[in-house]
């Protein structure tokens, strides 16, 4: 029997919680969320689990009534979050996610962050790195009221109220800090330009927040990151640069990478400012925010969403079709030139077929390719660990072992 005092800030029930009471509490919370009277709802999550937070966010998106405006703030433990339709092999250095796997580790590995989760979210957009110095903000409103810039502008106003006068919204609906040195005269309330906007190529603005959206028939969700005080800025590029990048030709959305920076605020100040900005824009300014936590997993839909997000199938097989080739089109030969061109066609995360051709007609890889085709076809790419071990072959042809070493380097097992 789990006995715990109710921690929800807005909830006044200070009695030991049994499972029964927890169930009642959760179902009354779910009712409150979908109650048409609840027009302004603000939540902040204590959980650091990205799967929990995204599941709560999705529940809020689906269940809140029309006309309501929701703000949800959450922070995640170190994880990489890819967009709905992205390719993890292309965007992420999968070999770094489980650093205890020393097989792939090289001496120049960045300092270990421990296990880093890989999460595929439900909104579109690109790949981001989350850690405890990054606060995520999420606004849900009616589709009719929605514009892509509206809530990014709201966050910029909150940042400016905290003294971050270099913040502005850029053309891609992201929030950037202008790096210009000369201070110019600009309109104070224009959230798309600052006094430091500079067209000088040497001082490009630094990105501090990226946006992504999920739109349904009547509701719109806009969520974004806010890099406040991440200690990991230097190692983020290692995680987001995949060794397979130059070998993959893919459909789907690619990330647009930008140089990043910390804003330099602490989490609590930012959360308070965004909350205050939100309730003064949409509410009476008096609404208090409610704390939520992972005990909301007791709600069936949240649990179901959580399980889906955590499943390897969701994370890997939702990848659009792509081709992995040792010699992508339009490039010069790579180190495998002696070993011909190897390519695989991967759809739904499953290897459909592979082929291996050599430029000189004398070398034939017929037996090798038959071996590979038999063993690899219809296998899920994310389930293949060590490529050599996954092939049942007595002695490995030197060409084959070199190929397998190449595959191990570029397509390591993620989990």
């Amino acid at each position: 029997m789990r006995s715990r005092a109710c921690r929800a800030r807005a909830c006044n029930c200070w009695f030991p919680r049994t499972n029964q009471a927890l169930l009642r509490h959760n179902s009354s919370w779910a009712e409150k969320v979908s109650n048409p009277q609840s027009q302004i709802q603000t939540y902040i999550s204590k959980s650091r689990d990205p799967y929990v937070n995204l599941s709560i966010e999705h529940f809020l998106f689906q269940k809140t009534p029309p006309g309501s405006k929701i703000l949800f703030l959450y922070t995640n433990r170190p994880c990489i979050v890819i967009g709905r339709n992205q390719n993890p092999w292309l965007e992420v250095n999968l070999g770094l996610l489980q650093p205890h796997d020393t097989h792939n580790a090289s001496p120049s590995e960045p300092p270990a962050l421990g296990t880093v989760d890989l999460v595929r979210r439900r909104s579109g957009g690109g790949t981001v790195f989350h850690d405890e110095g990054n606060v995520n903000w999420s606004v849900i409103c009616d589709f009719a009221d929605f514009t892509r810039d509206k809530h990014a502008e709201m966050v910029v106003r909150c940042l400016r109220s905290l003294g971050i006068e270099r913040a502005r919204v850029n053309e891609r609906h992201d929030i950037v800090l202008d790096q210009g040195i000369d201070k110019q005269q600009v309109e104070g309330s224009d959230t798309h330009s600052t006094a430091y906007t500079s067209t000088n190529a040497a001082s490009r603005p630094l990105k501090v927040s990226g946006s992504a959206y999920k739109l349904s028939r009547n509701r719109a969700l806009h969520h974004g990151t806010a890099l406040l005080q991440s200690p990991n800025l230097q190692i983020i590029p290692h995680y987001l640069h995949s060794p397979a990048k130059s070998y993959i030709t893919a459909k789907g959305v690619e990330s647009v990478s930008s140089p990043v920076s910390n804003i330099g605020l602490d989490n609590a100040s930012f959360e308070d400012a965004v909350h205050a900005g939100f309730i003064s824009t949409y509410g009476s300014g008096m609404e208090r925010r409610e704390v939520v936590d992972d005990d909301l997993l007791g709600i069936a839909e949240i649990r179901k969403g959580f399980d889906e997000l955590k499943s390897l199938d969701w994370t890997f097989t939702q990848t659009p079709q792509f081709v992995f080739s040792s010699q992508p089109m339009g490039t010069m030969d790579f180190d495998l030139s002696a070993n011909g061109k190897f390519s695989m066609n991967i759809r739904h995360g499953i290897i459909q077929d592979c082929e291996w051709t050599f430029s000189d007609k004398k070398t034939s890889a017929k037996e090798l390719i038959t071996l590979l085709s038999e063993q690899l076809a219809h296998r899920k790419l994310h389930e293949i660990g060590d490529w050599a071990a996954s092939l049942k072959a007595e002695d490995l042809d030197p060409k084959l072992s070199e190929l397998l070493a190449f595959l191990n380097r570029t397509l390591p097992q993620p989990a």
């Binding site: 967009g83 709905r84 339709n85 439900r122 909104s123 579109g124 957009g125 690109g126 892509r148 053309e171 891609r172 609906h173 110019q184 005269q185 600009v186 309109e187 798309h192 330009s193 906007t197 067209t199 946006s211 992504a212 959206y213 999920k214 739109l215 349904s216 028939r217 459909k251 789907g252 959305v253 889906e308 499943s311 199938d313 969701w314 097989t317 939702q318 659009p320 079709q321 759809r347 739904h348 499953i350 459909q352 219809h378």
Partner: protein, 485 residues
């Protein structure tokens, strides 16, 4: 629930969707509290006809997006507002829902394909009423445009007739069908959809002559075509009188044209007044020729010939120092209009590019010299013509100069681009004879300057004085020199 794909009869994989969102909707789940079939109590008859369902505009000028996953398969029954598929465009994942009840007949794309906005997404056998707005989402035929216009007019006519109907399914269909078309002529009031009736009108066939093979004796497109092939004589009389030499060609808007359309539509709300006067370019031309031939201005790396435009823009900027109300923004978006004098002179100038009219902005003209202005004009024009301008190059203009005279023209009435309050159009400088002080005829170059201003905040006198100042600077260039900082 299966987590692996399933081999179908052709040995290819089908993605199993049972793990994720909704199961393949081959059959209704009885637990859902939703009416399965539109009730026949409803007085309007079901138009059970298969139509292509277009991918609606999802905003932001996006023309195509990628299909992430399908929630339905052919044969699946959908109700209004059920999810059909999820698409991805740049940063947004969008759920596309159905506007109708019906059965999905065909998917036009596979997962991962790029779907085009405005083109058919699925074919759906519609089993609910089609409201006038929904007509726009289904592609009926070539005559669809006329029908779309006719249908809203007939909308209230339709509701009156439906209210009077009784409940039986075998309702007299010609009544309903009549109500959709505003001309209930006896000849065409028969059992067919608007598309088919248009086809028969086009070929001058009496619809009553055709035997319908559709549901309840409806005439379908195939019936019309069969009839035409069986009775070719009837179609010869229907040939259109004389074929036009070309075909009408609908041209879709390019992004530049669309932007121009939107901006100019907004400008309609501005009350313009036009002020024009003649400016004597003779002395300016002399100065320019001298500068352009002098080796000092023609350096090795940057030989640049000064045109009249940098002089004009600099003269305008100097005059705006004296008349700041012309370098302002009028913000009418909120209830209280805000009139803001802008400190910086960010002057946009019109460039005619292969992709249309673009107006890049030169920032802080007050800090520029005439040569640096010329360099900036050249740089921005080159970028504009090669389509390499960034979005930030277009924003923040406080005044616009349009040198249409480089192509031609005398007096123009330029359109102000909101939230600016004024704009200057410069016509072509022509050589004309004029009288000198002593009465002799001299050669003079003159061009027309046409100023438009927003009469809500700017009065004629201000514009006139500013125009006089600009004219003064250009007719006597040395006056500009003494004002340079």
């Amino acid at each position: 629930m299966s987590t692996h794909g399933v081999h179908n009869a052709f040995g290819t994989f089908i993605r199993s969707t049972t793990t994720y969102s909704q199961p393949l909707r081959k059959s209704r789940r009885p637990s859902l509290a939703r009416p399965c079939i539109p009730q026949y109590f409803h007085s309007a008859t079901r138009l059970a006809v298969v139509k292509p369902y277009l991918l609606a505009d999802i905003g932001e000028g996006i023309t195509e997006c990628q299909i992430i996953q399908w929630f339905v398969q052919p044969g699946a029954r959908v109700a209004q507002f059920d999810k059909i598929c999820e698409v991805q465009s740049d940063k947004a994942a969008v759920e596309i829902t159905s506007r109708f009840d019906g059965i999905i007949k065909k998917l036009h794309y596979e997962a991962d394909d790029m779907a085009r906005v405005g083109k058919p997404l699925v074919d759906i056998d519609i089993q609910s009423e089609i409201s006038p707005e929904d007509e726009a989402l289904i592609n009926t035929s070539k005559g669809s445009k006329e029908e779309e216009k006719a249908v809203p007019a007939a909308g209230d006519h339709k509701t009156k007739t439906t209210a009077a109907e009784t409940t039986a399914a075998e309702i007299v269909e010609d009544n309903i069908v009549q109500s959709i078309v505003p001309r209930p002529s006896g000849k065409h009031a028969s059992l067919a959809t608007p598309a088919v009736r248009h086809l028969t009108k086009q070929h001058n066939i009496d619809i009553l002559d055709i035997s319908g093979t559709g549901k309840d004796g409806r005439v379908l497109k195939e019936d019309v075509q069969n009839h035409m092939s069986n009775h070719p004589s009837s179609t010869t009389t229907a040939s259109t009188p004389s074929e036009p030499l070309g075909q009408d060609k609908p041209i879709p808007f390019t992004p530049v044209q669309r932007k121009m359309y939107e901006t100019m539509t907004r400008s309609l709300s501005i009350p313009h007044f036009l002020y024009s006067d003649l400016v004597d370019f003779t002395s300016l031309s002399t100065v320019r020729r001298a500068l352009n031939s002098h080796p000092a201005t023609q350096t090795e790396e940057r030989p640049q010939k000064l045109s009249a435009l940098p002089f004009i823009i600099k003269a305008v900027s100097l005059s705006l120092n004296a008349y700041p109300s012309l370098n302002a923004h009028l913000d009418t978006t909120s209830d209280k209009p805000q009139f803001i004098h802008k400190a910086s002179h960010n002057i946009g100038f019109a460039v005619d590019t292969p992709s249309g009219l673009l107006v890049p902005v030169i920032r802080s003209v007050q800090s520029h010299s005439i040569t640096s202005l010329a360099a900036e004009i050249n740089r921005l024009s080159a970028l504009a013509r090669s389509n390499k301008l960034a979005a930030s190059d277009f924003t923040g203009a406080t005044f616009t100069v349009s040198n249409i005279g480089s192509i031609g023209g005398l007096t123009v009435a330029p359109v102000i681009v909101g939230p600016q309050v004024a704009i200057l159009g410069v016509g072509k400088a022509r050589v004309v004879p004029a009288f000198a002080a002593d009465g002799s005829v001299v050669r003079k170059e003159e061009g027309v300057f046409s100023w438009s201003a927003d009469h809500r905040v700017v009065d004629g006198a201000t514009v006139a004085r500013c125009a006089e100042m600009v004219r003064g600077y250009l007719e006597r260039v040395e006056r500009m020199m003494v004002k340079m900082r």
